[in-house]
Symmetry: C3
Subunit: 159 residues, 3 copies
């Protein structure tokens, strides 16, 4: 679901750095919770002379471009909190190493997405809960598309 593209200068990160950053990003999504394997991080080297910021060549710039599919963040408070959370995750890999950086997130359609040939189950459904537990995509029944938690069928009734 989230696809993170990390455009970075040559040698910005070691293999260990990449592993650690990918894990920390994954942890954030796992906490939502969503299945861990939804989080994909791809590192892409931008060789010297191919990145420009404000019209000026910039060889110490890291650009994070994220597509989020499984969840639309609801409301301004959660959206701001989310950005600040991600900023904390990436800070040790950029700010504290002397890079400039930028991150932006797009929210793409939930229903135009598939994994291992399976259309992912609805948010917080029984099937999604099972995918979280098994940490892999697998076929699911119609029954498993129902919400995992307690739910009411009578509109307007709460509590």
């Amino acid at each position: 679901m989230p696809l993170w593209k990390v455009y970075h200068p040559t040698n910005a990160f070691t293999d260990v750095d990449k592993q650690e950053l990918a894990e920390k990003i994954t942890n954030v999504y796992e906490g939502v919770p969503i299945p861990k394997f939804y989080a994909v991080v791809i590192f892409e080297e931008v060789t010297s002379g191919n990145c420009f910021v404000g019209g000026v060549r910039h060889d110490k710039f890291i650009r994070f471009k994220v597509d989020q599919i499984a969840r639309t963040l609801p409301g301004p408070v959660i959206r701001e909190w989310w950005m600040r959370t991600l900023d904390e995750v990436i800070a040790p890999f950029v700010k504290e190493r002397g890079f400039d950086w930028e991150i932006s997130i797009d929210e793409t359609p939930f229903d135009l997405w598939s994994l291992q040939g399976e259309l992912p189950p609805p948010f917080e459904s029984i099937a999604e809960k099972r995918w979280v537990a098994e940490n892999k995509a697998s076929p699911y029944t119609y029954q498993e598309k129902l919400p995992a938690g307690h739910f009411l069928l009578t509109p307007g009734v709460t509590g």
Copy 2:
């Protein structure tokens, strides 16, 4: 219009594979129909150690990221059918070769798009029909922006 980015491990595909996959993808869009040349496929190698799934390094993962511009898929039935159609197209190139994979589609604004300096003509217009036939972008008149098929100017009248 559709821009397909295929992020794949080194040596996942031969030149012949790439040609075949690009053709099969193009055929799906041609069947809509839209001009064949709208379909662009770019293969991008992700070298070993640069892809992580669920926080774990994964060197056998293929990620398809698609931007669709010319058409917004209407309604849940067509959207699901569309994903299943694409899954069938890519299966022989991923599933049957032992790769894990994921595909997601974004729908980007129709009116922020141009080809060879031309703003593409409206859906199913006379000009689009000509572009399909000629398989290339070219200037078109205001008259050609009208629908290619039979159309009624009286709202509310059908049949």
Copy 3:
């Protein structure tokens, strides 16, 4: 804010070309106005045999893929004008050199974006004006989030 990805064949552009194109793109956004450093251009080489247009291998094709974050272009007239403006900027780098090309723009959420760990200030706010002047991101106060120009607090009153 705008992130321009330029997918181009090997050797399509010299270092001087890249510099010039990045500057010209930046100038367009600077004229909006928005802070110059919002404009990021990344050139990405697509090696021979990895780009297909209409199912046919095409090694003379340049694809511009743009994410615009800070501004949503309002209304059809401005949106068309914007595309024509960008087409003029890129023409000398594509059309006049014998390449085929295509450009598309996505508009991604303003509130899921940060720069140097700062959430960018509102459009045309006092802070944004300061960012334009200083050409870099920095912390800003709540007060600076107000509009930079003259504004009225009474809805429905104009002039």
